[in-house]
Amino acid sequence: MALLPFLVGLTTLALIYGLLALGLNLQYGVTGLLNFGHVAFFAVGAFTSALLTLPPKGSAAYLQADAHYQIGLGWPVPVGFLLAGVAGGLVALLIGATSVRLSSHYLAVATFAMAEIVRSVLTNEDWLTRGEFGISNVPQPLKDTVIPAAVYPYAYLAGTVVIVAVLLALTVRLTESPYGRALRSVRDDELAARSLGKRTPALKLGAFAVGGALAGFAGSLWTHSLGVVHVGQFVPIVTFQVWLAVLMGGSGNAYGALLGSLVLMTITQSTRFLGNVPFLDGLTRRNPSFVPSLRFVLIGLLLIAVVRFFPRGILPERPRRPRRRAVSARRRAQTGASGGSGATDAADTPDTPDTVSREDEP
């Protein structure tokens, strides 16, 4: 078997799931919102991006591909990508506005139901999605024109790496900001946060929408990587796999969410080769569903192992400590002018925007 293409495909998939996990981590890991309908935002992003970028009906490309879909706007893929995020965020905003005030487990039920409604709509609105048939000629940007098909997966991976890295950096910036701190306070104790004056409904809605937007972006990346979009891809198991990635990686830690996706995808994809294992291939011949079933058993065992050995995930969330400079400035103030060691301590710390500077000390 060709190992390199397998690894490239695996990494691309893991990054796309990583983006989904980043969104769920913002919603659940940071804000404490139990979202069991994450796949809906993924689906909305995928269909938005596909329908916006497909060659218009009746165009040369449409006829050449012998296509049957109704809607294609032929817009550039980057526009489709951006609007996929917007669509994911808007749908999340819409769902969130009606249900984000629900307390934890009620929100879980509402989001799960919402995802099923979205899937049902996508299945039945043939004119829009071609239902169960799906749409199979979703454009793949620059393919054959700039980048030869042979190296296309590598180029797509490189692009995905860049996009996910940028979105990761933005997400981390957000969660480390005062806004992220306010979100964590809502997660830890909503009533306490309210009694400190936090507008908790708006905070929850914001986190929910941004999480939905990240899932929308993931949907776009996915549909263009495959060149195919159909509603059967967006089943509830996707949501649960993202949950597993977040919990395994370390809820509340964005890097953990990415790592969790990587580990999870490595396991689910590698288990495809179980059928090739000498001892198991006999069983496979007699029972074709043996290997697919075994994959689910492995994922279950993995979850048990994580909960047993890493209850807070592989990369747990770390509580934020005061910066050294703030503390040493304090120490200096206490010991007065004689405190020499504290001053050198402070001078060693690099200047960052968040640091308490000496001028601001009382």
Partner: protein, 272 residues
Amino acid sequence: MRAATTSPGGRPGRPARGADALLAVEGLQKHFGGLMAVNGASFAVREGSITGLIGPNGAGKSTLFDLVTGVTHADRGTVRLAGRPLTGLSPDAIARAGVARTFQTPRIFPDMSTWENLLAGGARHPGETLLGGLWLGRAARARERALQSRATELLAFLGLERVAGQPTRELSGGQRKLLSLGRALMTEPRLLMLDEPAAGVNQTLTRTLMDRIRDVNAGGVTVLVVEHDMDLIMRLCERVVVMHQGSVLAEGTPEEVQHDERVLEAYLGGAM
């Protein structure tokens, strides 16, 4: 500056003015099913005072706290802060109006550090919106610095420096009480409402807490405290409101209240 360290609760330039009512509660009523938890309670908390709220178990003290802070809504009656009606506002709006509270069982943010718990109390932060947090402009950075230096002061004031970086789920009960006091102070309140600050706290720490409450009050913050520890109330408060069966039974100085026949009966006789 030492002055800032000894009274970090204060808003400068807000001297304690004698007889003005900062909090005015009038005819407050709340029933849960058939039970009248609060039945027409009226009293006032003078600006700059430490006022105690006492009463036997089930007198309606905690419900009254929840009514004033908007956690539950009253069936009837009004609550005013410096003349401004608070009735019907959400808990967060009431907090932003200048009322900070602690809970009987401290409600800390367990997975956040002591440091972050304090900073999370900071009010009016331009960096606390989605775009403000992403962009983090000059105003947001300045506010963050101000909050950090204040939190640093409070860590020292409350003796929590050693646990600053620890997740607060690891704190002792007493440390949690101190932390929730500090976090409430971070909101720079006009009125601080403390629900049994000394319950389940040892003698030494109780004394520390009392000293800190006095310091905060000296800095210009009005304090309303519910407490079962009669001794503490009598030593700490200049005014005491006694509740019994959902209404205000007596109101006055600790001495007056201690010698009030009705209060003695409610507490000792129990023959109502």
